[in-house]
């Protein structure tokens, strides 16, 4: 095992050396870093050309210059790496250190969301293979997969930011939108059920009417300008989620787990007012968001222990997942309450959804919730864009993988034993179906730090992708190689981690 890892790291270093040498030289030969200067009419052009020649070592041939750069990087072994200076005079190390958190904020949420959504949809479509739902999800995921992100971004900005902000002037849903969105809800719900035509029509009309009613209530209570769930809303939603998770994981008939879950829901309701009061304090910070969630998780573990005697693992899983959702909805409810205050803040002026940037430049508030809401709203559109285009891959992979597993002999054996379909899928099929996806995930997480070049530039985020783009367009070798060193290192490492994880998850595979 250790010799395997050592061997892999050795090859990784060789690969990194070779690839960085090639990239360095290709980039150095591909253009002229002082092209602009050569056509400028600056009176001291010669001085400036001499300055840059000295600064960028343009008089040294690129293959030799590469080793100067490598010498700086090699400092990593002595703890003093030198990534050099970017052309704007800032240190490459500092620029990358500033860009990484930005990129993580932008891409991490989208990646997790894409994995969760993609796998969920993939599993559902695999179970309902060749159903209307399967076909429509396949169509949608391929559609998203083939859309160029800059175009998706433009559409999102136009309809979910500019038009939505215009709509907020009244906050009342027009009759045409009411009918259209109700119809969309109806189609989706009807797509989920199977059965004869009569049943489908009943479900469609039922959910159409329900959605329309709901939107009417939204209009009537002016909910869009003044949203909130209240203690009752949080309770109902969390209760629904808890019962749902418990049904999927252990089955509705397992009453002990159900009681434990409902205990968590009760705890959430009991905590609602104290937590909201505590969160209203002026020294509120991001860490304070975490404590109620952790407390609920503790309650969840305790409840699972109290209500179950045997097979505690699944029970704890159900209650803990429920409690995390409970914490999430406490936060969401709080953000709903902040919404109307945020809307009326100077600088927002009823146009809350931004089209670019990481924060509103006009906002001069130091209230935690206002800033939190602002940060979230800025991340919403890029996250949607990134999720839309990357979740298709997960849908297809997980669907294919699950279908393959479902045809295996041991699944037939499990069914023959008389296990319920739920147990067969959740306990026997799903776990094995997920193994191949670890490779995909490992690479996606490594890719996070590479940044999303187009997304970042379209949404005005200054992360790794922007650094990369700037480095190429201004022939900034140090900056480019700094970004390249980080991303290529992560890619190589992800490869190794994926292989190790594979062997850990699948007992048939051993690393040697």
């Amino acid at each position: 095992m250790f010799s395997y890892i050592a061997r892999r790291i050795g090859t990784a270093l060789l690969i990194l050396f070779g690839s960085s040498f090639i990239v360095y030289n290709l980039e150095a030969l591909s253009g002229d870093p002082i092209a602009e200067l050569r056509t400028s009419a600056a009176r001291n052009r010669d001085f400036l050309i001499a300055y840059y020649t000295r600064q960028l070592e343009l008089d040294v041939p690129p293959p030799l210059r590469y080793f100067h750069w490598l010498q700086g990087i090699a400092g990593i072994f002595t703890g003093h790496p030198n990534f050099g200076k970017a052309r704007d005079g800032l240190s490459v190390y500092g620029e990358i250190a500033a860009a990484i958190p930005v990129t993580v904020r932008l891409v991490l949420g989208a990646t997790i969301l894409a994995i969760l959504l993609g796998i969920t949809v993939g599993v559902i479509t695999a179970i309902r293979q060749y159903s209307r739902l399967d076909y429509s999800m396949t169509f949608i995921s391929f559609l998203m997969f083939s859309l160029p992100i800059f175009w998706v971004a433009v559409l999102l900005k136009q309809y979910m930011a500019i038009e939505f902000n215009n709509f907020l002037a009244s906050g009342q849903i027009g009759i045409e939108w009411l009918l259209i969105s109700s119809a969309v809800v109806g189609v989706i719900v009807a797509g989920l059920v199977s059965g004869d035509r009569r049943r489908v029509i009943t479900v469609f009309s039922g959910s159409f009417i329900a959605a329309a009613l709901m939107l009417l209530i939204v209009n009537w209570t002016n909910w869009i300008l003044n949203p909130g769930m209240g203690v009752l809303g949080v309770g109902v939603v969390v209760g629904g989620i808890g019962v749902g998770i418990s049904t999927i994981v252990v089955g509705f008939e397992n009453k002990r787990v159900l009681w434990a879950t409902l205990t968590v829901v009760a705890a959430t309701i009991a905590a609602y007012f104290p937590v909201n009061y505590w969160w209203s304090s002026s020294d509120m910070n991001a860490l304070n968001l975490l404590w109620p969630v952790l407390a609920l998780v503790a309650v969840a573990v305790a409840a699972a222990f109290a209500f179950t005697r045997v097979d505690r693992g699944p029970a704890i899983r159900v209650t803990v997942i429920t409690s995390v959702f409970a914490g999430l909805f406490l936060i969401i409810d709080r953000l709903f309450q902040t919404w109307s205050i945020y809307l009326n803040t100077d600088g927002i002026n009823m146009r809350p959804i931004p089209t670019f940037g990481e924060a509103n430049v006009r906002l001069s508030s130091d209230n935690f919730w206002i800033l939190f809401e602002d940060g979230l709203l800025h991340v919403v559109l890029p996250t949607i864009a990134l999720t839309l285009i990357s979740f298709a891959g997960y849908v297809r992979y997980s669907r294919a993988s699950l279908l393959e597993v479902m045809n295996m002999d041991y699944i037939r054996t499990a069914r023959a034993k008389g296990l319920s379909e739920r147990t067969v899928i959740v306990r026997h099929a799903l776990r094995n179906a997920m193994i191949p996806l670890t490779t995909l995930m490992a690479f996606d997480f490594a890719g996070i730090l590479g940044g999303a070049i187009i997304t970042e530039s379209v949404f005005g985020w200054h992360g790794m992708g922007t650094l990369f783009r700037n480095a190429i367009s201004s022939q900034d070798l140090n900056l480019l190689m700094g970004v390249f060193a980080i991303t290529s290192f992560l890619a190589v490492m992800a490869n190794l981690v994926a292989d190790l994880m594979y062997s850990a998850l699948d007992p048939r595979i051993r690393v040697r």
């Binding site: 591909s30 002229d32 002082i34 092209a35 050569r38 056509t39 009419a41 009176r43 001291n44 001085f47 400036l48 001499a50 300055y51 840059y52 000295r54 704007d88 005079g89 800032l90 500033a98 800059f150 433009v154 900005k157 136009q158 930011a161 500019i162 059920v193 009309s205 039922g206 959910s207 009417i209 709901m214 939204v218 209570t221 909910w223 300008l225 003044n226 909130g228 209240g230 009752l232 809303g233 309770g235 109902v236 939603v237 109307s340 809307l343 009326n344 100077d346 600088g347 002026n349 146009r351 931004p354 089209t355 670019f356 940037g357 924060a359 430049v361 379209v458 949404f459 005005g460 200054h462």
Partner: protein, 628 residues
């Protein structure tokens, strides 16, 4: 069954919603607060408060510097050099051979944003930043190997001609002594710098100081400056380090040293978020330049860093930025046009596209093994002259200009755009019509393009009787960048020149700028980007030893006329010299100008007083006139 369950769930949720909606008070609509904040788009982030070093000399940095600083002059949107008489006056005090003196006087009563008076002492730093001699003498290092002050101002004519600097007794007038007349002396003039703040930072201060301490610091600078003249260095070296590095900050908040923000412009930097925005507020003590508009004033200017093009247009549509300028693509331009409440205007920049023909090897070339140029345009014999003229005649200038100016943003536009016809003046500048009427450019705009191409073919036939349309008799290697603009131009030229028997190469070169001296190319096409208005600005392009003369151009009349431009001339004399030089450049068929690059400005229609200008800081030049 299922539907029933759904209905039940909906009913419960609705009940929950109702119970909350009664608990939360109904939101009041936003009050339409009077607008006083302008958000200006910049395509790149601020990297420094000091745009004076070669590394930080970027548009965003200098734009911020423009709003936070004021000196003896600025460019308007013509672009003309305007004297800022609120700040001070400048004049020639002596002009004899080998002794040329100019004096700059700061008006009394002007103050920095911390209240310290502005005097002539504040102008002296400019000398340190521009004179290699001073830097070497004071032990600050030779700028050619890296000096303590990492200034981008060395190596200019100021550097090579300045002889001395002196301060008047009242300390309000600085006199510069040059070894000869400097035609662009006005813009070589010194700019003010908050030297007391620099001195205080040398002392390690991190807070604003009292008036007395500030004055003492200013006196200290004068002492240090004079000590530098005598070769004493210590404090200045530290100051150079501070000037070169400490201003390079991207985040500005309450922890930032306020001494870094001392300035004398209409606005002062208040805060900055790295790579996101910079916020400027009115400078309450501002009295160094034109008065800020007082009714419905701008109290805050925020520079926001969006990328160019479509994202900026949508941000404008969403009210996230108020002002945009740039060179968007056609789709983005249409998008801008479609926005309501936004004013869109198209203008030109000073950057202009042109086409140059090689005559011989570059005077700048340093490679001793370089082969001699042996292409069709070689030398000044009749054959080369005829072929050069033929080629230029076959360049479809009007078609190119229509495509890249008139139709740049509106492909359906049928109107003819302005073809540039002078190498020395831009359309609209004083004297342009005088020069273009007589400089020989008429040959290249007389008749239709078909007629001119026919003339070209006739000239080619004179030397190659077998030549005909499409005969590819004369191969031409053309140097251009492989971007869409140049590829399009190359295609238009290639197609038209083919009708005159030329065979123009159509492969662009990403590293084109390194190849300007390469004698294997017969033709080069690119753009000059002037950064200032100057009567000698084009000399380096056409003088036989000019640093921008890459094609072995050599003509005694051109040299005489351009050298004459280096003297003190009346505007009419300047125009006459331009004409004399231009006539030869066009007569020798060396080069033809094509067009000025277009640019687009778009801004909220609520904002008044914006007049886009062709030079950096573009539309910011009259920020004091902006108002709602």
């Amino acid at each position: 069954m299922k539907a029933k369950r759904t209905l039940r769930a909906v009913a419960v949720i609705a009940a929950g919603l109702l119970s909350t909606s009664t608990a939360v008070s109904v939101a009041t609509s936003a009050s339409a607060a009077a607008r006083s904040t302008v958000i200006v788009n910049e395509t790149s982030a601020m990297t420094s408060l000091n745009s004076g070093t070669p590394d930080t000399n970027l548009v965003t940095n200098s734009d911020i510097g423009y709003l936070t600083g004021a000196g003896f002059w600025y460019y308007d949107n013509k672009p003309n050099l305007i004297r800022n008489t609120t700040f001070g006056t400048y004049k020639i005090t002596k002009n004899v051979a080998n002794d040329f003196e100019v004096s700059y006087t700061v008006n009394k009563g002007l103050v920095w944003s911390d209240g310290t008076p502005i005097t002539g002492v504040d102008l002296l730093l400019s000398h340190i930043l521009g004179s290699s001699d001073y830097s070497k003498k004071a032990g600050l290092g030779d700028p050619n190997d890296g000096a303590a002050f990492n200034s981008g101002g060395y190596g200019s004519p100021y550097d090579s001609h300045i002889k001395g600097v002196s301060l008047s007794d009242d300390k309000y007038t600085v006199t510069l002594k040059y070894d000869s007349f400097q035609p662009d002396w006005a813009i070589f003039g010194p700019g003010p710098a908050p030297v007391h703040a620099l001195e205080l930072m040398v002392d390690g201060k991190t807070k604003l100081q009292s008036a007395a301490v500030n004055l003492a610091a200013k006196a200290q600078f004068l002492t240090d400056f004079n000590a530098g003249l005598n070769g004493s260095v210590k404090r200045l070296k530290t100051m150079g380090d501070i000037w070169s590095n400490d201003y390079n900050i991207q985040t500005i908040d309450s922890k930032t040293n306020p001494l870094l923000l001392v300035s004398n412009g209409g606005f002062i930097v208040q805060s900055a978020v790295a790579n996101q925005s910079v916020t400027l507020v009115r400078n309450p003590k501002y009295n160094s330049g034109p008065k800020l508009y007082s009714a419905n004033p701008i109290n805050k200017v925020i520079f926001s860093f969006v990328t160019d093009g479509s994202p900026a247009a949508q941000a404008l549509g969403n009210g996230e930025i108020d002002v945009y300028d740039g060179q968007p693509d056609t789709a983005t331009f249409q998008q801008l046009k479609g926005l309501s409440g936004v004013t869109v205007s198209t203008d030109t920049t000073m950057t202009y596209e042109h086409i140059d023909l090689r005559v011989g090897n570059s005077a700048q070339s340093t490679d001793p093994n370089e082969p001699a140029y042996d292409g069709p345009f070689k030398g000044n014999g009749q054959k080369a002259r005829d072929l050069r003229k033929a080629f230029l005649l076959a360049v479809p200038r009007q078609a190119i200009v229509n495509k890249f100016v008139a139709q740049a943003y509106d492909p359906a536009n049928q109107a003819d755009a302005t073809v540039m016809n002078s190498h020395f003046l831009l359309p609209g500048q004083a004297g342009y019509s005088t020069v273009t009427a007589a400089n020989g450019s008429f040959t290249y705009r007389n008749g239709t393009q078909a007629q001119r191409t026919a003339q070209a073919l006739a000239l080619v036939k004179k030397w190659y009787p077998s030549a005909s349309a499409g005969s590819k008799t004369v191969p031409i290697k053309m140097l251009f960048k492989n971007n869409s603009r140049r590829i399009g131009e190359n295609l238009l030229i290639g197609n038209e020149a083919a009708k005159a028997g030329f065979d123009v190469s159509n492969v662009g070169n990403a590293a084109w700028s390194k190849k300007l001296d390469d004698p294997s190319y017969d033709v080069a096409m690119f753009a000059w980007a002037p950064s200032a208005v100057s009567q000698t600005g084009s000399n380096a392009n056409y003088q036989s030893d000019g640093s921008n003369n890459h094609y072995g151009w050599n003509d005694a009349d051109v040299d005489a006329a351009t050298h004459a431009l280096e003297g003190l001339l009346s505007p009419a004399q300047v125009t006459a010299k331009y004409l004399a030089a231009d006539k030869q450049v066009i007569g020798n068929a060396w080069s033809l100008p094509l067009y000025q690059w277009p640019q687009v400005s778009a801004y909220s229609s609520d904002l008044k007083g914006i007049k886009p200008g062709p030079l950096v800081p573009n539309l910011l030049w009259n920020y004091w006139e902006w108002h709602f």
